[in-house]
C-alpha cells in the first residue's frame, strides 16, 4: 500500500514540476512550488523520513514561499522570454540526471538494514543517545550534540546566507520621508 501511495505521489510530483516549468506567470509558479513542496513532504513521510518532512514543512512551505513572494514583489511578476535556446542546458541536465541514476545502481537497496550507513555509528546513536544526551528525539541529539561543531558551521553558513537574502530583499520598515 505504501508503495502505491509513494508511486502516485511521485507521479503528481512530476506533473507539478512540468506545470511549474510551463507556466510563465511567476506568481502561479510559486503556487505550484508550494504544492510541490507539500507533495515532497508527503513523499518523505511515505518513505518514513519523518524528520526530513518536518524540515520540508518549515522551510519548503513556509519560508521559501514567503521569500519567493517577497522577491516577486521586487522584481515583477512575469517571466522574461529566454534569449537563448534551451538545447544545451537541457542536454547537460539530462546527462547529469542519467549519471546520478547510474550512481544509484551501486547503492544498497532502499531501507536495507545491512547497508554500511546503518552499520557504522547509527546503532550507537539510536541506542545510547537517550542515556548519553537525554534528548527524546535521536535526530536532534545527533545534530546538536554528536555533530555539534558540524551543526554550528552549518548554522553560520545559513545565518550568513539569511542576512544576505534579507539585505537583497530589503525587508525592513522604511523610515518616513524615504520613498
Amino acid at each position: 500500500m505504501i508503495e502505491v501511495v509513494t508511486v502516485i505521489l511521485f507521479g503528481m510530483l512530476a506533473v507539478t514540476a512540468i506545470a511549474a516549468i510551463r507556466l510563465h506567470d511567476l506568481f502561479a509558479v510559486v503556487m505550484m512550488f508550494s504544492i510541490y513542496s507539500l507533495l515532497a513532504a508527503a513523499v518523505f513521510v511515505a518513505m518514513d523520513a519523518v524528520d526530513v518532512a518536518f524540515t520540508e514543512a518549515a522551510v519548503g512551505v513556509g519560508i521559501s514561499t514567503v521569500l519567493m513572494l517577497a522577491t516577486i514583489g521586487l522584481v515583477g511578476r512575469h517571466e522574461k522570454r529566454p534569449a537563448h535556446r534551451p538545447g544545451l542546458p537541457l542536454a547537460v541536465v539530462t546527462l547529469t540526471g542519467m549519471v546520478l541514476v547510474y550512481g544509484t545502481l551501486d547503492m544498497p537497496r532502499f531501507g536495507d538494514p545491512l547497508a554500511p550507513i546503518h552499520q557504522h555509528v547509527a546503532p550507537h546513536y539510536l541506542q545510547d543517545s537517550p542515556v548519553e544526551i537525554g534528548i527524546p528525539n535521536a535526530v536532534t541529539g545527533v545534530l546538536a550534540s554528536y555533530r555539534g561543531y558540524d551543526t554550528l558551521g552549518e548554522l553560520t553558513v545559513i545565518f550568513t546566507a539569511g542576512i544576505g537574502v534579507l539585505a537583497l530583499l530589503g525587508i525592513r520598515r522604511r523610515k518616513r520621508g524615504e520613498s
Partner: protein, 100 residues
Amino acid sequence: MLTLTLLVLLGSMALALLRAVKGPTVYDRILAANAFSTKTVLLITALGFLVGEAEYYVDIALMYTLVGFIATVAVLKVSEFGNLGQSGAVRSTPAERPNK
C-alpha cells in the same frame, strides 16, 4: 476503510492539482494550493495510522496545518498589496492584471 480513505485522499489531491494546473486565475491556484495542503495534512495523518507510527506523523501534520495557513495568508497579502506589507507600499497589485 483506511486504505479507501487514503486512495480517496490521493484522488482528491489529483483533482486539486488539476485545478492548479488549469488555473485560470491566480486565485484558483491559491485555492487549489490551500485545498491541497488540507488534503496533504489528512493524508499524512492517515499514513501514520497505516504505518502504525501515528504519534510522529501527527506532529508533522499539525505543523503543516499551521504553516499552510501562514503561507496562504502571506500569499494573499502579496496578491492584495503587491508585497509582504512593507510600509509605504501602494495598493497596485500584481494580481490585478488578469492572468492569461
